[in-house]
Each structure stands twice: as structure tokens, then as C-alpha cells.
């Protein structure tokens, strides 16, 4: 009743705890700053030699020392964007089904299975992609798409099996569990009275999910997608195995491509000249910056979308 009862009382333990929390946060800030500094220092020679032209040049010739990053930037962004577009649709649908429609007897083992998929090492996805998906893409999926949509530049040209589309599909497969598992938690977390209010108005289960539950869970679902996109951007080994590793910019999704992470993994171990190594580190810096920009853009997009929803 009196004031003293509400005054927070600090003990040594509390203070230590607060410090520990503080430190663990600042540790990550320091880590990011450190990463950035090391990458910048390592790639300084490349930045000095090539300048901004590096970002728009598209030749990659280790023999003559002409390096350009554009095909890798293109490949990284295109494969990740296609992957997240597919994974968002499938992942959110799966999450909605698990949280709202499936009987608990099915939902629990299914949810467990999906979470298990997130723990599968990426090299396993890569091997599966190379030995199972790529041949099927070449003999069945690719020709089927091409016979209907071959007039689009997007689906023109020879089908090698490996290529941008195969890589995007593997990436999508890898990040669906992330989208589904996190989205499901957020959908389940939507207050029961929201659902009840909707049902009381005479809405069906589908209408309740679409109009009340999903909008309420939107920030969480969006967060899940951003996290998944981050994983797709940085994925290395699975992409390397199925993307075809040709530094070229092609309109066709069947054509081989290349990503920033893949070229670093491919060439770093055997790179010997200073400029070459520095250039590869520069690609790492670029990937770092792209990840941050994409994350920031996603956050801005989320805030705009949410504000619009609230204003409506």
C-alpha cells in the first residue's frame, strides 16, 4: 500500500543478471562490427583495384584477373526470391492446416516431422537435388513446363537438370520448415476470443482463419519469412551442387546460374594470388551487405503493410 512496497529492490544477483543480459546482446553487436571490419580489411585490395565497377561487371576470369560480381548478385537474389515465394505459400498453408484444421492426433506428429526437416543438413538436400531432383527436372518437370510455357523467355532454352529453377526449388524445400514451424506457433498464439467472436458472427472455420487468425498472426508470419529468406541467401553447399555454377545472367530459369556463397566455397581453397583472394572476400562482404539490406527492406515492408491494415 505504501510506496516502498513497489520500489524495485536491486540485489547483487539482479545486477549481475542484468549485466549478463546486456553483455550477451552487445556481444552480437560487436560480432557484427568485427565481421564487417575484417571483411572490409580483407577485401580492401579488391575494392581499391576494381572500385564500384566491380558491382556491375559480369566477367569472372581468374586467369587474367578480371572480376565482376553482377552474375553472382543476380543469382543469389533471384534464387532466394523464388525460393521464399514458394516457401511462403506452402509453409503458411501447412502452418494454418496444422494449427487450425488438422485433428491433434495428426497435427502433432506432422509438426514434429516438419521441425525434423529443418534439422536435415544442407548437404543432404544438395545430394538429393543432384541425384533425384535434377534428373527429374531434366526429363519430366522441365519439358512439361516448357511445352506449356516455353514461349516465355523465363522457360526457354535447353534444360540441363541443374540450374536456377532446381536451385530455387531445393532452397524452397529447405526453408519451408522454418516458415511452417514458426508461423504455426504464431497462429496458435492468436487469442481464442478472436476466433470465438468470428465464429459467433456465423463465419465458417475457413473464414475465421482467413479474416481473424491469419491477420492477427501476420507480424509473426512475416518474421518467419524474413528468417527463412536469410537462410536462403546464405545457403552454400546445396545451392552449389544444383545451380550449375556458371557466372552468367540468363532470362531462362532452366539456365545455370551462380551465387555469391557458392563461388566463395568453390574457389576460396585454391585461390592463391592476393587480388583473387581479396576479391573472394569482397564477395563475402557483398553477401553480408545484401543480407542486411534485404532484412531491413523486409522490416520496412512489414511496418508499412501493418500500418495499412490498421488504418483500414
Amino acid at each position: 500500500m505504501g510506496e516502498p512496497a513497489f520500489r524495485p529492490r536491486y540485489r547483487v544477483g539482479d545486477r549481475l543478471f542484468a549485466w549478463a543480459l546486456n553483455l550477451s546482446t552487445w556481444f552480437y553487436v560487436a560480432l557484427i562490427v568485427g565481421l564487417f571490419t575484417v571483411l572490409l580489411a580483407g577485401s580492401w585490395l579488391a575494392i581499391k583495384s576494381f572500385g564500384l565497377h566491380f558491382l556491375v561487371a559480369s566477367s569472372w576470369d581468374p586467369v587474367t584477373g578480371h572480376f565482376g560480381a553482377l552474375p553472382f548478385i543476380f543469382g543469389t537474389i533471384v534464387s532466394s526470391v523464388i525460393a521464399i515465394a514458394i516457401a511462403a505459400v506452402v509453409g503458411i498453408a501447412a502452418a494454418a492446416y496444422l494449427a487450425e484444421f488438422a485433428p491433434p492426433l495428426i497435427a502433432r506428429p506432422l509438426a514434429f516431422l516438419i521441425e525434423l526437416l529443418a534439422a536435415v543438413p544442407s548437404v543432404v538436400y544438395g545430394l538429393w537435388g543432384l541425384f533425384v531432383l535434377a534428373p527429374v527436372m531434366r526429363s519430366a518437370i522441365g519439358p512439361a513446363i516448357q511445352s506449356k510455357l516455353g514461349w516465355l523467355p523465363l522457360f526457354s532454352g535447353p534444360i540441363y537438370g541443374v540450374g536456377m529453377l532446381t536451385a530455387s526449388l531445393i532452397l524452397a524445400l529447405m526453408i519451408v520448415p522454418t516458415v511452417a514451424a514458426i508461423s504455426r506457433d504464431f497462429i496458435e498464439g492468436v487469442a481464442v476470443d478472436q476466433r470465438e467472436a468470428m465464429l459467433a458472427l456465423g463465419a465458417t472455420t475457413w473464414e475465421t482463419v482467413r479474416r481473424a487468425v491469419l491477420p492477427a498472426a501476420r507480424p509473426g508470419i512475416f518474421g518467419a519469412c524474413v528468417l527463412a529468406l536469410g537462410r536462403a541467401l546464405g545457403e552454400t553447399i546445396a545451392t552449389t551442387m544444383v545451380i550449375g555454377n556458371r557466372p552468367a545472367i540468363s532470362a531462362s530459369l532452366f539456365a545455370p546460374g551462380y551465387t555469391l556463397a557458392s563461388v566463395i566455397a568453390n574457389e576460396f581453397t585454391e585461390a592463391t594470388t592476393q587480388v583473387y583472394i581479396s576479391t573472394l572476400i569482397g564477395l563475402g562482404l557483398l553477401l553480408f551487405v545484401i543480407s542486411i539490406v534485404v532484412n531491413a527492406a523486409a522490416r520496412i515492408l512489414m511496418h508499412t503493410v501493418l500500418r495499412n491494415v490498421e488504418e483500414r
Partner: protein, 353 residues
Amino acid sequence: MQFSVFARRKALSIAAALVATAFGASVALPALAATQLTGAGSSFDYPLFSKAFYEYGQHHNDVTVNYQSIGSGGGIQQFTAKTVDFGASDVPLNTEEYKRAEAAGGKVLQIPIALGGVAVVYNLPGVTQGLRLSGPVIADIYLGKIAKWDDAAIAKLNPKVKLPSEPIVVVHRSDGSGTSYIFTDYLSSVSPEWKSKVGVGKSVQWPAQNSVGGKGNEGIAGQVRETAGAIGYVELAYALQNSMTYAQLENSARAFVSPTVNSVRAAAASKPNVSPADFSIVNRPGAASYPIAGYSWVMVFAKPSDAARGKQIKEVLEWTVTAGQSIAASLDYVPLPANVQQEAKRVLGQMQL
């Protein structure tokens, strides 16, 4: 409350100390038993080294050799930084690399340690082993100028084979590798156009529009196996162990030769005075010589800072280039020809201990 916090912290620190002791002990134990020599570099050498050094350890229990297969580039860096006793690279040090290593530890000795060949493999429905190809034809295929299997240039070499009118899918290594280096070295030696347009390197700008990159031998093999009409190149040992369909290549004596341990060895034996400055052994003369071959190299400092260790390194390497070469054959690697073994031994003799 406070008491228990302290008690717990004390328990924690004791536990930490225990862990530290245990860890320290486990690291220290083998070091007591034997000197541990370290090497790093080429992954091509790894299967040979791991078996050879194991065998060596069976007879010399005072030495163990720990080889890290981190790639030639990493090997050169570690060697230059003097964090390993020897480095291994699929290509000898170039002038820039040599100067840096020399600045760090004085004169560098480089010896050929392992011999390898590159097989050209393909997947052509209806055509089994032994399609005949020539250097200029392979170069034109990799340049993208020959794009179909029934091209007149291929048909001329294979009059008895019914070639399908399939488009060619060109497969190359996407990761930097000594195999690519030897292969592009060969293409440069047989095609002036390849030499001027592309050149030689562990990674190059592959010019063919119909090319895809696979990571590692297994990446190329997988790609070639799954794709009708594909052509690729893999290390000899890999092709033999996986029974891949490979081409016979026309050598400089105009004979068609299959990639085998003997044909690669014959090519190498035709150049006994191989040195870091003149190391290419592609397109060698001799009717039995297979045209795509190359050495992997080991580098050591002529005057190691620790003479006792240096002596042990010298012994290990001398054994590896002579007696140890018998292990190579069991792994489908090519044993060094006798004359090259002697040359390697001679260079090792220059170590100042």
C-alpha cells in the same frame, strides 16, 4: 541465497578446472609419444598421403604426420606462414608465391610427390567405352564450337561408331582444382585459340554456352551420369574406381591411348628432369604416352628452423617419393617413374640440416 550462489560458482570453477586439465592431458599425451609433423594443402594428395603416412608410422613409431587436406591455396598460405612443416600444391609456386615464401623462411625446395592423369568421360546412349577424341576436338567442344555429337570432326575420328545427333552438354569443375589446371594446360597446348581466349588455371572462365559446373570429381561424375550427351573430365583414380566411360585420346605420336596407370606413367617417364620451373607433362611424345597428366608438388624450406624436425621431414618425404610410391598403385594413383623418384631424392638432398 547468497551462500548458494557462491557455492554454485565455486563448483562451476572447479568443474571448469577439471575440464581444462582433462583437455590439456588429452592433447599432451600423443605429443609425448612421437613428434607430430604437419602438412597442409592439395586434396588430390590426401588419399595417398593418409595411407602412406599411416604405413610410415607403422615402421617409425617416433613420428606421426598430420596432413590437412585444405586445398593447394590454403597449403601455400599455411606453408608461407610457417604453421606447417610442409605444404602440398597441385601446381608449383609461381614467382609471386615463391618470393613471399622465401621472404618468410629462405630457400624453398619443391619436389614432385604424386602423379595423376585426367580422364575425359562421357555419357552417350548407344556408345560404350573407348570413343576416340583428339586434343583439338576436345578444345573445340569446350570452346562451344562443336555442339553436337554427330559433328563431322568427331565422326571422322570414329568411322565405325554410329553417333547420335544429340546436343553436347559440357561439364567442368566449378571448384578451383589441380585437375582443371592440368586439363586446361592440355587444351592450351593443343589449341592456340584456347590458349589465347581462356588460358591455363585452376579456375578459368569456361567459354562454352552449353556448359555447367559440378563441384568436385563427384559433382562432374554425377552430372555426366545423369545427363545423356554430357562430356566431362575427372581425375584418373576417380574414373577407374567408379568404372566410368572414358574416351581414348590421340597423343602426339598420333596413337589413341586409354587413360591408365601405365599410359600416364609412360608420359611422365618421358621427362625425367621435371622441375618447378618446367613442370608441364601434357601432350608428351611416345606412342604409349597418355596426353593429359601432371604432378602434385610438396614444398619444404631448404633450411628448416628446427633441424631435428627437418631431418624427420626429409626422411618421411624421401620414403614417400620412393618406397611409398608402391602404395600409389593400390589407390589407382600413378607411381612416380624411377627417374623422377631419383630427381625428387636429389632435390631433397639439398636440405641443409
